[in-house]
């Protein structure tokens, strides 16, 4: 890097090096932050530091005596804020890059442009491989008197004009436009620059039409983006909710949207590849003589049990376009007798693969979105200066509607409050010993209640089964069917009441930070849901599916599917009831009778976990109820509007708003880890180890569900030799565990590399931040020592030597400014300030 010890001798050389833009610049600036040049500077700085310290020590010994390392710093700062500065120090201060740039005078801007233009020009020269020797010299400027200012400005302007004239037309215009001068000034400059070709716009003559085309395309692209973003679901409602209740509540609604998209995907895939073919070629079923009571809609029994909704309806036939529907139902005969070159549609195979592929894609999407949102929350979490950015960069100047302006400022207020509460929360001291006992009690209460709830559900499920067996012997009545709803009802009751208990407990615990309270609440609710679902899964897959005959079931898959359908439905009904009674009536009651002004607060944790619970049910039931995603879609749509209106009418924004940047990450990971993983494990368990019922469904007469693929591959081998390789593929990929292991291994490796890269970036960021901090300290120290040296010189030295010094000083200041401006556009801040400090240290050493 050029900024080094010999900087003072060859400033021009340096400028030249600095202006090698492009690859070199990036490399150089990187080096500047790195060790290579850093070590050199550190060395120099060290020398200077000790030197300066000695001088300071002799001067301010009285202060120093009682000062340790920390208070030394504070003294320096105190020195910095004092008022009586020597003129030299004032000069240095005013020429400091951080101070000079805010008060850019016209002159400064022009010279800055000058340098920029020269850089540009030189860059072009180099690309054209022309020698550099003809480059005009650039002179910096000092802080001169006003009278000198004017004439200097003239010369500067002339220089700039000259420089501009030697640039290409496009660059000229670009530079002119980006100059922060007033338009009148710019016009004057332009007149001077373009005096050789008056009356001819550079744009009209020089700008190629491709760039105009690019601009037009850009406009179209932005227009499309705008339309797309407005097409996004519930955009307006979400904005409104976010503005009023903050990002925490918003993340709940965004989560609903995500789930909805997942279910739409499931529904589309299942509908296209499984339900539609079966619907076109329906099996011949004896028309059942079920009475239509309306209760079937809730229980899923009766005519619904023999519909596309459930597993039992699907056949093990092969659909062939040359077959007639009634033939197709006859079983496998159709597929084999028809033309072997025609592809037949094998329903069991379709069932198996559709479910497998939907799970696979869902898993990939989940993991991908999880990693993405992890990255985002990590960035948000790591970037310091969030508050400043929020204050200065969050206002959207485009917004001009009165309502949206109000909403925007509401939104910003809430976000600022969230940030503040986090800051405050971080400051509060944590954990008193007396609180430990309360926490212990709270945990034992919640764990105990969860355990008893699970146990109760287990016993109740057993009992209900015995009752159902008794019922099955008698005639079917409405009461018996309604009894099927008892178990879902009990489970939903538990789901509804226990979170209330948890809330009570956490109110007792009195957490300081809302984030901790939220996490604890989420964890407890999650534990409850997981244990309930675990018990139910054991009941369905371990008890009913293992010995269906004992339970009097012909088609246990359909039964489990119906159970899941009922659970989903009852869960929704309970949520709706809770919204009406828990929120609406309670609000009326508390405001009307108790005369309290407070409205209930929306419980994010509990609502999100309810969503996750519902989604887990959907995934679990996908195998037994292919149309369950449709039910879930309807449920989510209704839920969104219900919750939205309930929020707007009944609830108030949480009194302790928290920042919810990590909220969506948490939700997605919860959805991924216990929910999706649990569902996939139980579905895989079912496919691999449980014998499907022999009387119904696509997998009848098979030992296990996955045998359908095997059977198909073997059939294919014998009938169609052209496609024999598919058999091999099936054998290698599906049946061989090695492939799965490889896939998982690659997956894990990618995740590992990703985390490593993130970790490295984080380390680099913290190092660079530390470096910037240190630069600031260096600056403070140098200024103080400069002042000290000046004071020392002023008093003991004779006045005759002063003009010489100031002359010297002027020179330094000229060179320093030059360097600074040449560096200004080369990149990040640290090399700039490092260089500036080097220059400053040189000034000091020259002065002494």
């Amino acid at each position: 890097m050029a900024y080094s010890v010999d900087f003072n001798l060859r400033p021009i050389m340096e400028l030249e090096l600095e202006s090698l833009r492009g690859d070199d610049t990036a490399q150089d600036s990187m080096k500047g932050t790195g060790l290579e040049s850093g070590s050199r500077e550190t060395l120099e700085m060290e020398v200077l530091t000790t030197e300066g310290r000695d001088r300071l020590a002799s001067q301010m010994s009285d202060v120093r005596e009682r000062a340790d390392e920390r208070s030394e710093e504070s003294i320096q700062t105190n020195l910095l804020v004092r008022k009586r500065w020597s003129t030299t120090t004032l000069r240095v201060l005013s020429s400091m890059p951080s101070r000079s740039i805010g008060q850019q005078s016209r002159l400064e801007i022009i010279s800055q442009c000058n340098i920029r233009s020269t850089q540009l020009r030189r860059y072009h020269r180099q690309t054209q491989d022309v020698s550099l020797s003809s480059r005009p010299s650039i002179r910096g400027y000092g802080i001169e008197a006003d009278s000198e200012d004017v004439c200097e400005e003239e010369t500067k302007r002339q220089e700039l004009v000259n420089n501009l004239q030697s640039l290409s037309a496009g660059d000229r215009v670009r530079l002119l436009r980006a100059t922060p001068l007033s338009l009148a000034e710019k016009t004057k400059l332009r007149k001077l620059v373009f005096s050789d070709k008056v009356g001819q716009s550079l744009l009209s003559s020089q700008v190629p039409c491709c760039s105009l085309l690019k601009r037009a395309l850009c406009h179209i692209w932005f227009g499309c983006l705008f339309i797309l973003s407005s097409l996004q679901l519930w955009q307006v409602a979400l904005k409104r909710l976010g503005g009023r209740f903050g990002t925490g509540v918003l993340s709940y609604f965004l989560f609903i949207r995500t789930l909805l998209l997942f279910n739409v995907f499931l529904f589309l895939i299942n509908g296209l590849f499984l339900v539609l073919p079966q619907a076109i070629y329906p099996p011949l079923h004896t028309p059942s003589s079920h009475r239509v009571t309306g209760l079937e809609l809730f229980t899923g029994t009766g005519y619904l049990s023999n519909s596309l909704m459930f597993y039992g309806y699907y056949t093990n036939s092969t659909i062939n376009t040359s077959c007639r529907p009634d033939e197709a139902t006859a079983g496998t005969g159709c597929g084999t007798t028809s033309d072997p070159h025609m592809m037949a549609y094998n329903i069991p195979l379709a069932y198996c693969f559709t479910i497998g592929i939907t799970f696979f894609i869902t898993g990939i999407v989940l993991v991908y979105s999880m990693s993405k949102s992890f990255g985002r929350s990590f960035r948000v979490f790591k970037s310091q200066g969030n508050m400043a950015i929020k204050v200065f960069c969050s206002w959207d100047f485009k917004v001009s509607k009165k309502m949206s302006v109000r909403m925007q400022s509401e939104n910003i207020t809430t976000q600022l409050k969230e940030l503040l509460s986090e800051v405050k929360g971080g400051e509060e001291e944590k954990g008193r010993l007396s609180g430990m006992a309360v926490h212990l009690l709270a945990w034992s209460i919640s764990l105990g209640s969860t355990f008893f709830c699970a146990l109760g559900i287990h016993c109740f499920a057993k009992y209900m089964h015995l009752r159902r067996l008794e019922d099955a012997e008698g005639e079917v009545s409405v009461l018996h069917e309604a009894r099927l709803l008892a178990l879902p009802g009990v489970v939903s009751c538990g789901n509804l009441l226990l979170p209330g208990l948890f809330n009570l407990v956490s109110w007792m615990e009195n957490f300081n930070s809302p984030i901790v309270r939220l996490y604890v609440s989420i964890f407890r609710n999650l534990l409850l849901k997981v244990s309930i679902l675990g018990v139910l899964c054991y009941h369905w897959l371990g008890k009913i599916a293992a010995e269906p005959e004992q339970h009097g079931l012909q088609c246990w898959e359909s039964f489990v599917g119906q159970e899941l359908y009922r659970f989903l439905l009852v869960d929704f009904i309970f949520t709706a009831l809770y919204t009406v009674f828990g929120e609406f009536i309670w609000k009326r009651f508390s405001q009307g009778v108790l005369r309290r002004r407070r409205k209930p607060v929306f419980d994010i944790a509990r609502n999100v976990l309810e969503l996750i619970y519902g989604q887990t049910l959907t995934w679990l039931g996908l195998l037994f109820t292919p149309l369950l995603p449709a039910v879930q879609i309807l449920k989510l749509l209704l839920l969104f509007h219900m919750k939205k209106s309930s929020l707007l009418v009944n609830c108030q924004a949480s009194r302790k708003p928290w920042r919810a940047s990590q909220m969506s990450t948490l939700f997605i990971s919860l959805l991924c880890f216990p929910s999706f993983l649990g569902a996939i494990v139980s579905v895989t368990y079912t496919i691999l180890t449980i014998k499907p019922s022999s009387g119904c469904g696509p997998f009848r007469n098979l030992p296990f569900m996955f045998h359908s693929g095997k059977q198909w591959a073997q059939e294919l081998k014998s009938t169609n030799h052209k496609l024999a390789w598919l058999n091999w593929v099936h054998h290698c990929l599906v049946e061989n565990p090695l492939f799965l292991f490889l896939l998982a291994g690659v997956f894990l490796m990618v995740i590992y590399i990703h985390t490593q890269v993130l970790d490295g970036q984080r380390k680099t960021i913290s190092l660079l931040q530390k470096q910037i901090e240190n630069e600031g300290k260096d600056k403070k120290f140098l200024i103080t020592s400069l002042q000290a040296i000046h004071e020392k010189r002023q008093y003991p030295l004779s006045p005759s030597s002063r003009p010489q010094g100031s002359e010297l000083w002027r020179k330094w200041s000229l060179k320093g400014e030059c360097t600074y401006f040449s560096l200004k556009n080369t990149g990040p801040l640290w090399p700039k300030s490092t260089n500036w400090i080097t220059g400053l240290s040189l000034r000091i050493s020259a002065l002494t």
Partner: protein, 187 residues
């Protein structure tokens, strides 16, 4: 209004086109908007560059600026006399900087000016307080405002003088990816 070309000479239009981020058509449209604001003050003929300014009160009544909490500061930062009177050149300049295509450095310089309420070339606590009150419509309590100010300065201040210089500001802006899109007024 019939013969639009007499508003500006070709040369003037070229100059505008080279010095701003607008095309000829847009310049003419801007002139139309400027004229609308004060029809009795602004002449239709600009070929001899008349020295006309429009006061701040009229400029901020534009629908684009009317609801903006920083409207007065925006206009003041672009006016040559600093009091908010805008000549047509200043007017064009303002919307040129606030246009979609203006580069980040240029926008940052003017954003800094806008937020610098007391024009001391630093964003100090006082400026921040004013900015905050405008942003939140004074919904934050005084303690909260002080806390936010302290925190924001602490975060963005690199050299430790407890006020934000332009270098600090610019450095912060580089970390806000949406600044370019939000510091933009469509006209």
């Amino acid at each position: 209004m019939g013969n639009k070309q007499t508003i500006f000479t070709d040369e003037q239009l070229d100059a505008y086109q080279d010095c701003t981020f607008f095309t000829r058509k847009e310049i003419l449209r801007l002139h139309g908007r400027y004229h609308e604001l004060a029809p009795h003050l602004v002449p239709m003929d600009y070929t001899n560059e008349p020295d006309v300014t429009i006061p701040l009160a009229l400029i901020v009544s534009m629908p684009e600026l009317n609801e903006n909490p920083f409207r007065n500061r925006i206009v003041e930062s672009f006016s040559e006399d600093g009091a908010g009177n805008l000549s047509f050149n200043d007017f064009v300049d303002m919307f040129s900087v606030l246009s979609e295509t203006a580069p980040r450095e240029l926008k940052a310089i003017y954003a800094f000016k806008i937020y610098d309420f007391n024009v001391d070339n630093f964003l100090c606590k006082e400026d921040l307080e004013k900015t905050l009150n405008k942003l939140t419509r004074e919904e934050l309590s005084p303690e909260e405002v002080t806390l936010v100010c302290e925190k924001a300065i602490e975060e963005a201040d690199l050299d430790g003088d407890s006020k934000l210089s332009f270098a600090d500001f610019e450095n912060m802006i580089t970390r806000a990816p949406d600044f370019l899109s939000t510091f933009h007024i469509r006209i």
